[in-house]
Symmetry: C2
Subunit: 193 residues, 2 copies
DNA sequence: AATAATTTGGAATATTCATTCCGATGTTTT
DNA sequence: AAAACATCGGAATGAATATTCCAAATTATT
């Protein structure tokens, strides 16, 4: 048809990341991606090289749209503890209200691909470090504003809360319900005292 | 050759679960399983029906060998807190000393298969409940012996510590190192006070 | 209006994969 | 020792897979 691309790159990556999210890398076929994105076979290979490259770009797209959510929460006029509470509440709510949602694409990618693809492990590791640092900054803020009292460096709690977050995603894929997830969050946040 | 099976069922399941552990369900081919187990194609299909069935049996084998480790720890003459400390120390040590070990087969199965295979999700959910209950009993024991002081039911801490454990597996697949994992364990166990 | 530029549809290719099947092999039983 | 029986090796099958390729379609430019 066209002289300029007929599709929106972000829409394609969003659709692709949804499929990868649902079925994993090895579990999704190119045909499934074609129907999900509406792209033609040749357009996909022209624009995204191959399946593996599309996967990596989908991962980064997912990561960036995650980052945006974190950033918009970060910009809210809340203290660090409130930001953490809001974030965890949001995650649990999402998991509970979307029981078919297959956890977190990055967690699934860590499980499926991190030992088999160095580039995948890089994206995952970067995400981990960034989110931990954000959490640590929230915790430092909460400490400064004296809404929490810590006996370890803020960085350590950032690592701990990131671990808690990863756990929640696995728990929801293991059949955990609302109260179970809420209990976990409650104990985790209570440790900031 | 034989009139009776030439192979040891447990050895086969152990080898198979190692491959599934390393590469996931969709990432491993029958051929890889054949070379890993030493079985012939026809023996495998004769004794294990098909790939999917072999996967489920491998999962249960893995779960049971995990259970045994937990049980032998449970039988030790330690209070509940010491058992938890020993367990977490063992997990972190294992993850650190075997950097190529691909996390936990059950966690990986949760990420890859739980939404696509009901039987897989059953194994995972059962494992979650059992381990949580074991942890809760250890915590109750520690409470009774007054080595910890809780302000929530033991069951809730069992859920929390199981979540922490799942998180550790993902963290190690995300490039977390020894101190990072130890920090997580430290904060998690400190919450029992 | 014609040419240039670029995407697209879908057929074609070549691998890889899970599974089936049968003759050969060996072991137990009589 | 020979018949009965179950396993095993490996070829064969057929479906699914990722990727390539080319002609048709469409728009921008001249």
């Amino acid at each position: 048809m066209p002289k300029y691309k007929q599709f929106n790159r972000d829409k394609v990556l969003e659709a692709a990341s949804n499929v990868f999210h649902e079925k994993g890398y090895n579990g999704t076929s190119i045909d499934e991606i074609l129907t999900a994105t509406g792209l033609s076979r040749s357009s996909l290979y022209d624009s995204f090289k191959d399946k593996h490259n599309l996967y990596l770009q989908s991962l980064e797209f997912y990561k960036e749209s995650n980052d945006k959510k974190f950033q918009s929460l970060d910009e809210k006029d809340l203290n660090g503890l409130q930001k953490l509470e809001t974030m965890f509440k949001g995650v649990v709510n999402h998991l509970v209200e979307n029981p078919d949602d297959n956890g977190c694409l990055l967690v699934n990618a860590a499980a499926e691909m991190s030992k088999q693809c160095f580039k995948t492990s890089q994206v995952i590791c970067n995400n981990k470090d960034e989110v931990q640092n954000l959490f640590s900054s929230w915790i430092s803020d909460a400490e400064q504003k004296k809404v929490v009292k810590l006996n370890k460096p803020a960085k350590v709690y950032g690592q701990f809360l990131y671990n808690t977050l990863c756990g929640l995603r696995v728990m929801s894929q293991s059949g955990a319900g609302k109260t179970e997830l809420n209990n976990v969050v409650k104990v985790a946040l209570d440790s900031l005292n």
